[in-house]
Symmetry: C2
Subunit: 330 residues, 2 copies
């Protein structure tokens, strides 16, 4: 399957929380939070998901030298939402009302892997001819769901946004030709509750215990799940694509946590040189993490010729998703 | 584009609220709520979205004479969710753990039109060869987001679930061959706040005013929006498909409200005979409404040969979505 990347953009909001502030909050010695998580700072945004998404979209449109009027689909691929109703994609489109260009809007949600699922959808739409210029945006805003008394999520999660514009091979503005060498997505629901926000939906709309409105993850359980599932997942993805691990130029992983990424790299036998690791500067930005890191890579590499890139991550559900791309700068 | 329907199912939960109870609550004379809304009763389910989804899935699998192990993708297409994290599709898959058959799971959300968006995704996946046997399920559970003091949503919204299994033409178990004659989806974000739940997401996580956790719709504004947008939307869908309105055998509309459906039928010049209207028995079941009504139609019509069916609805966002299908029973 072939498609193109016309442009992309990423945005990191201004408000910063340093890991040294987390040290102080939890009575740890300076540097301990960074030592445990690999994270120096996280950024936060308080004006809602849709405005944060808009920031990345404007950068991506400029990068693509494309106007909003040229888009024909907007998919929001975030793990969290701005309002329970309507979908966040509609609220994002509201910020582009002055463009007088209505387009179809919907959300795709696979928590931290939403961007990977939305890429699958966008690629299928391009292959089937349903849509041509597809904007996929992931944005995560706010810190209200982070329990200030729980070290793990308090120290890991941050905000960011990133947007990609995908199109057909015929798009003259395309920057990169992309060949999808392989794609795999799998959900292992025995770990469905290892990372969750229990309350706020139909299961428990207004909980008695406020704790249930907070994000909770069982890091130990998730790492156990990754050990059990990741090696087989990856070898099946690579063998379907007939690609050896050494042929992968860049691994763009979900920046989940410093230790998690190290274990994943070891399990999958990735070298330090293959791994794009920017978690120190961003923390875990949920669904924004993979497109943010992917955009970072595209902007870093001057000469992107025939590079093989693997987007890979785990997300609540628990799901593992991977996209193996051969990318060629036009 | 061609695909098949292998099977489908719908489920209406047991707990009933009669419109005469709403008459009493709002001090109206008996029959007034039904006169205003077209609804005699709604059904409610208190055990969460995923269990309600499971009910419809089991019926659809039986209808398809298919086992869960034959599925290769599960899309949850609901307008509301069970938990903020993970996606509802994962929580649904958790109920099928004993099948020992992990499949990819994600959610598609376009509020009341989620099923239409998910159909577009499923059709593109089938056309592009990504997936073969795709389960799309819509389920809406709970009444916590309905303001008991607001007549409109209190009188309209109900719970239900419905599931469809779509596949390729090669699937020997397929019951219906389907040709997609046309599809259109459009979002008009100037009406993004005409139907919404303001609080509970990143915009306002824990609101000061509990009212903001309730669903609110401006029925007058939505009907105005429909008058402005629906006729042009529909004529563009029909002319792209080269189909006249009189060639449509059945309109399967989103069962939004009695008056809304009447206005839509008049605007679009549909006859009473074309319209599948079951709102009296179900109320507005959000995203479950279209697949529930579609399944009802398929089970009603004994001899489904070369019928042209239009799935059509409006949803929060505000979006209009339509799928024009030529359906032939094998």
């Amino acid at each position: 399957m072939k498609f193109t990347i016309v442009g992309s953009g990423r945005y990191l909001p201004e408000r910063v929380i340093l890991s040294t502030e987390i040290d102080q909050r939890f009575g740890l010695k300076a540097g301990e939070t960074q030592r445990r998580t690999g994270i120096a700072k996280r950024h936060f945004y308080d004006e809602g998901t849709s405005k944060l998404a808009k920031k990345a979209i404007i950068i991506a449109l400029k990068d693509a030298q494309m106007s909003y009027q040229e888009l024909d689909l907007l998919i929001c691929a975030s793990g969290t939402f701005e309002q329970p109703i309507p979908c966040t994609a509609s609220l994002i489109a509201e910020h582009f009302l002055e463009e007088k260009h209505p387009i179809p809007c919907f959300d795709v949600n696979a928590t931290c892997l939403s961007f990977i699922s939305a890429c699958e959808v966008a690629q299928a739409f391009i292959a089937s001819g349903n849509y041509k210029n597809i904007l996929v945006v992931s944005a995560e805003a706010g810190d209200d769901a982070l329990d200030p008394n729980e070290f793990e999520s308090s120290a890991l999660i941050g905000n960011a946004s990133a947007a990609f514009i995908f199109s057909t091979e015929e798009q003259p503005k395309a920057k990169y030709d992309v060949e999808l060498l392989g794609a795999k997505f799998m959900t292992y629901p025995e770990y469905a509750h290892s990372a969750e926000i229990k309350a706020g939906g139909s299961a428990d709309f207004i909980p008695e215990n406020m704790q249930d409105r907070y994000f909770h993850m069982d890091g130990f359980e998730l790492i156990k799940a990754m050990r059990r599932k990741l090696p087989e997942f990856l070898s099946s993805l690579l063998s379907d694509a007939k690609i050896g691990i050494e042929e992968i130029d860049f691994l763009v992983p979900h920046q989940a946590s410093g230790p998690g990424m190290k274990i994943a790299a070891r399990l999958a036998k990735f070298s330090k040189e293959q791994m794009v690791d920017i978690i120190e500067e961003t923390g875990n930005t949920i669904a924004a993490s993979i497109p943010f890191t992917f955009d970072y890579l595209l902007k870093q590499e001057e000469n992107f010729q025939e590079k093989v890139v693997l987007l890979l991550g785990t997300g609540a559900g628990m799901s593992i998703g991977g996209q193996l791309l051969r990318i060629n700068r036009r």
